[in-house]
C-alpha cells in the first residue's frame, strides 16, 4: 500500500519537473560521467606510491596482509572511528525499555510455526558459519579476511537463528551491552595502553603488534556481529506480536 503511494507520488513529481530542468540535469550527469571515464582511461596503474610504501613497511605492522596492516595499524585511527560509528548506530536503534535489563540475552521459546527444513539445515550450517567466521578472523593476518568479514558472517548466523524462531535476543541484557561496546572499549584500551611503551596513541610496539591487532579484531568482530544482529532485531518487532499472517510471510525468506 505504502509502496504504491510513494511510487505514484514520485511519478507526479517527475511529471511536474519542466523538461528544461531535466535536460540540464541530464547534461551535467553526462558531463561528469564523461570526465570520470576520461580520467579512468588516463589513469596510470604503475604510479602508485602507496602500494610500495605499505609493502616496504609491512614487516613493522605485525601482519602479512597489507589490507589488515593498513586498517588495523597504519590507519587504525580511521578504523577506531568506524567502530565508534557502529556503536552510535547501535545506540540509535536500541530498543527502549529499562525493565528488560533483568531478562537474559537469549531466550528460548517454542515458535508459533516451525520450519523443519530451516531447522534441520541450520543444525549443520550454524557451526560451519561460526567456524568459518573464526577462520576468516584468524586468516585476516596473512590472507584476505578480517574483523568486518568475520563479524558480518557471524551476524548472518545470528539472523538465521532468529528466522528459525526458537530464539530471541534481548539487547538490553548486560551481556548484550557488553558485546556492543567491547569492540570500541578494547580498541581504546589497547590504543591508550601502547602510550606507555611507545609514547604515541595507537602506535603499537613492533614486537607485540601482531597479538594486539588480533585482540582488537576479536573484540571488533563480536561488536560488529552484535550491531548487525541488533539492526535486524530492530526491524523484527512484529513476529512477536499477535498478527497470525506473519508466519507464512516468513517462509518467503
Amino acid at each position: 500500500m505504502f509502496n504504491n503511494m510513494t511510487l505514484s507520488d514520485s511519478a507526479q513529481q517527475e511529471g511536474g519537473l519542466p523538461s528544461s530542468v531535466l535536460f540540464i540535469v541530464g547534461l551535467v550527469v553526462a558531463t561528469v560521467c564523461l570526465f570520470l571515464a576520461m580520467s579512468l582511461v588516463e589513469f596510470q596503474p604503475t604510479d602508485q606510491p602507496l602500494v610500495t610504501l605499505v609493502a616496504s613497511n609491512l614487516e613493522q605492522s605485525g601482519v602479512e596482509n597489507p589490507v589488515t596492516a593498513v586498517l588495523l595499524n597504519f590507519r587504525s585511527y580511521d578504523t577506531l572511528l568506524e567502530v565508534a560509528v557502529l556503536l552510535i548506530v547501535a545506540l540509535a536503534v536500541m530498543p527502549s525499555g529499562l525493565q528488560d535489563a533483568q531478562q537474559p540475552f537469549i531466550t528460548v521459546s517454542k515458535p508459533r510455526e516451525r520450519s523443519l527444513v530451516l531447522e534441520a539445515f541450520l543444525r549443520w550450517l550454524l557451526p560451519a558459519i561460526v567456524v568459518t567466521s573464526g577462520y576468516l578472523l584468524w586468516t585476516g593476518a596473512s590472507l584476505p579476511g578480517g574483523a568486518f568479514q568475520a563479524g558480518a558472517l557471524l551476524a548472518g548466523a545470528g539472523i538465521l537463528l532468529l528466522l528459525a524462531g526458537h530464539h530471541s535476543f534481548n539487547f538490553n541484557a548486560p551481556t548484550a551491552r557488553l558485546l556492543l561496546v567491547i569492540g570500541l572499549a578494547m580498541f581504546l584500551l589497547v590504543g591508550a595502553g601502547v602510550i606507555l611503551s611507545s609514547g604515541i596513541a595507537l602506535a603499537y610496539p613492533v614486537a607485540m603488534s601482531g597479538i594486539l591487532i588480533l585482540v582488537i579484531e576479536v573484540a571488533a568482530t563480536l561488536t560488529i556481529a552484535a550491531v548487525l544482529v541488533l539492526l535486524f532485531c530492530a526491524l523484527q518487532i512484529e513476529p512477536l506480536g499477535p498478527q497470525p499472517n506473519l508466519g507464512d510471510k516468513e517462509k518467503h525468506l
Binding site: N3, L7, P144, G145, F148, A152, L153, G156, I159, L235
Partner: protein, 80 residues
Amino acid sequence: MISGELFIDLLLGIGALVTAILCLTAKDLFQAILLFISMGLLVTLAWVRLGAWDVAIAEAAIGAGLTGALLIATRRQLNQ
C-alpha cells in the same frame, strides 16, 4: 585467453549496470530488493576480478547478504 577474460569482465560490468537500472525502475518493492541483491553478487564478482578479495568478501557478506535481509525485513514493516 585475453579476449575470454575481457568478455567476462564486460559481462560483469554491463550486468551490474543493467541490474542497477532494473532495480531502480522496478515497480514492485520485492522485485527491486531481489535485483539489488543480484547486483551485489555481480559487484562481488567484479571485485574478485579486480583482485580485491577483502572487499569482495565484505561485499558478499554485507552488501548482498545482510543488506538484503534488512531490506526484506523493512519491506515487511512497510506492508503492515
